[in-house]
C-alpha cells in the first residue's frame, strides 16, 4: 500500500533573489528535508562559483585575468559558458555575457578591479579551451546574471531527482522549473505586478521571465535620464528600457532564462522570422505580456493551456 505523500516548501536567499523549492514524495519529512538541503547546496555552489560580487568566484577570477593567460575554472562554470557561447553564436551576439562593463557603468553592478585597458571584448574574445580552461583573447568582463539563476534551478532539479523526488518545483526569483505533477503558472503583469496572469500548466519544463518593474533606474549616462533596466544591447553597449514582461518556456531553465534576453532584443527586430526560427530550433516558446495583453510565439510541449 502506498504511504501517504508528504510535501515540503522552503526558501533561502541565493543569487541575489529568493530561491524557493517545493517537493512532494512518498518519503518521510526527514528524507524530504535531506533532499531540499542537498538541492539548496547545489544552488549555493552555483552562487559561489558565478557571483560577480564575490572576489573568489570563477567569474571574478575570469574578470581580473588579463588577456592571454589560461584560467582554470569549475566544470559547472565551464558548462554555463559553453551554453552561453552557443546561444551567442546562434543569436548573432544578441546574447552576450561580456556586457558587465555596461552594467557597472550604470551602477547595476559594483565597480571591481579596474581593467588595465578599455575593454571592448565580445563573447568571441573569451575562448573556451580544453580541460575546463578559458582565456581572454582581448580583456573583458562577464556577468552571468542572465543565465546563472536558470542553471542553478536545473542543478537543484537534478539533485532532487537523484534523491528520488517525483514532484518538485524550483523557483529562483521567477525562473522556475518543475518535474512530475504539472504546475499552474502565473506571470506578474508588468503594469501592476500585484496582478497575476494565468498562462497555463507547466509539465516537466522550465519558464523564465524577465521584466523591468523591480529594477528600473534613471539612465546615468544620458541627460534625459529616462528609466532603464539591467538588460544590455551588446551591439549598442547600452542598457534598455524594458516595459513589457517576457517569458520563455523551454525544457531547461538555463535556456529559458538566457532566451528571455534574446527575445527582448529581437522584439523590434527588422528580421522577424529569425526569432521564430531560433525558438523553433530550441523547442522554446515565448510569451509577451504588456498593455496589449498576452501574446505567444512558437510552441513548447512543456506548456499546456
Amino acid at each position: 500500500m502506498p504511504s501517504p505523500s508528504n510535501s515540503l516548501r522552503a526558501a533561502r536567499p541565493y543569487l541575489g533573489t529568493l530561491v524557493e523549492i517545493s517537493i512532494d514524495a512518498d518519503l518521510d519529512v526527514a528524507q524530504l528535508q535531506t533532499a531540499v538541503n542537498a538541492a539548496f547546496s547545489a544552488v549555493a555552489r552555483v552562487h559561489q562559483l558565478m557571483s560577480f560580487h564575490d572576489p573568489d568566484s570563477d567569474v571574478s577570477r575570469i574578470n581580473r585575468t588579463p588577456a592571454g593567460i589560461p584560467i582554470q575554472i569549475d566544470p559547472a562554470t565551464y558548462e554555463v559558458l559553453g551554453c552561453a557561447q552557443r546561444l551567442s553564436q546562434r543569436s548573432q551576439g544578441a546574447f552576450d555575457l561580456t556586457i558587465a562593463k555596461v552594467l557597472v557603468a550604470q551602477g547595476f553592478l559594483p565597480e571591481v578591479d579596474p581593467l588595465p585597458e578599455i575593454a571592448l571584448a565580445s563573447y568571441r574574445d573569451l575562448a573556451l579551451l580544453d580541460a575546463h580552461q578559458v582565456l581572454w583573447q582581448r580583456s573583458g568582463r562577464i556577468d552571468l546574471g542572465g543565465i546563472a539563476k536558470g542553471y542553478a534551478v536545473d542543478c537543484a532539479i537534478d539533485v532532487l531527482q537523484q534523491h528520488g523526488i517525483p514532484h518538485a518545483l524550483v523557483n529562483a526569483g521567477g525562473d522556475l522549473r518543475c518535474i512530475g505533477r504539472p504546475q499552474p503558472i502565473h506571470i506578474r503583469h508588468p503594469d501592476d505586478p500585484q496582478q497575476l496572469v494565468a498562462v497555463g500548466w507547466l509539465c516537466d519544463g522550465a519558464l523564465a521571465t524577465s521584466a523591468g518593474y523591480y529594477a528600473q533606474q534613471p539612465d546615468l549616462q544620458s541627460v534625459a535620464q529616462q528609466m532603464i533596466n539591467p538588460i544590455v544591447d551588446p551591439q549598442q553597449q547600452r542598457c534598455l528600457a524594458w516595459q513589457s514582461s517576457i517569458s520563455v518556456v523551454a525544457a531547461r531553465c538555463m535556456m529559458a532564462d538566457a532566451l528571455t534576453k534574446v527575445v527582448r532584443l529581437w522584439l523590434d527586430d527588422a528580421a522577424p522570422d529569425r526569432l521564430a526560427q531560433l525558438l523553433a530550433d530550441l523547442d522554446a516558446q515565448a510569451l509577451l505580456l504588456d498593455q496589449r495583453g498576452l501574446a505567444s510565439l512558437g510552441s513548447s510541449d512543456c506548456l499546456r493551456v
Binding site: R9, G16, Q33, R188, Y213
Partner: protein, 171 residues
C-alpha cells in the same frame, strides 16, 4: 512587422492583492536549522550604545531594539528577524554556529507590500467582461509566480546586521 508571428492569448487575470507565503513557523525553523538540538529562548533588548555599535560595524540601520533569539545547547544561536523592502516584508531566521559563523538562513514568511509604482492603473478595465480560456482555476492557491527577479538585498543586509549584533551583544 515583428509582431506578425505572435498570436494573442485570452487573458486570465487571477489575483488582485498582495501575495503572502508562509514557509516555516518559529517552532519548525528551529528543527530545520538545528535538528534534534535543544534551544532555550534568550530574547535580547539592545541598548542605544549597542545599536550604535552594530550600525557602525555593519553599515546597516537597526530597525528594532528587541531581537528574538534562542541559545542552542552546545553552542550556537538562532535569531529571527524581519526586513522590509520596497516590495516585500520578509521574516527570516539565521542559525549561527558556536563560532559565530552563519550555519543557515531560512525564509520563514514572505509578504508583498504596496510599494509598486503602477504605470497604468486603468489597464485592468480592458479585461472586464472577458472570460478565461485557461483551465487554470481562478480560486486555486496561487503558488507558482514567474516575474522579474525580486532582490534579496534586504535579507543580505539583515544577515550582516545580525552578524554585527552577535559580535556586539551575544558573543
Amino acid at each position: 512587422m515583428s509582431q506578425r508571428h505572435w498570436t494573442l492569448i485570452p487573458l486570465a487575470v487571477v489575483a488582485t492583492g498582495a501575495q503572502a507565503t508562509e514557509y516555516l513557523s518559529a517552532d519548525q525553523v528551529q528543527q530545520v536549522i538545528f535538528p534534534g538540538a535543544k534551544l532555550t529562548p534568550a530574547p535580547i533588548t539592545l541598548s542605544d550604545e549597542q545599536i550604535h555599535h552594530i550600525e557602525q560595524m555593519s553599515g546597516v540601520k537597526v530597525p528594532y531594539k528587541d531581537l528574538k533569539a534562542w541559545k542552542v545547547t552546545g553552542g550556537g544561536w538562532l535569531l529571527i528577524d524581519q526586513v522590509i523592502g520596497k516590495h516585500e516584508l520578509i521574516t527570516y531566521a539565521v542559525g549561527l554556529n558556536a563560532n559565530g559563523s552563519v550555519k543557515q538562513v531560512e525564509i520563514m514568511d514572505y509578504r508583498e507590500t504596496y510599494g509598486y509604482a503602477i504605470r497604468t492603473p486603468a489597464w485592468r478595465h480592458q479585461f472586464v467582461g472577458k472570460t478565461s480560456a485557461s483551465k487554470v482555476t481562478l480560486n486555486q492557491d496561487i503558488v507558482n509566480i514567474s516575474g522579474a527577479t525580486l532582490s534579496s538585498q534586504h535579507v543580505t543586509e539583515g544577515v550582516k546586521r545580525l552578524l554585527a549584533t552577535y559580535a556586539v551583544a551575544l558573543k
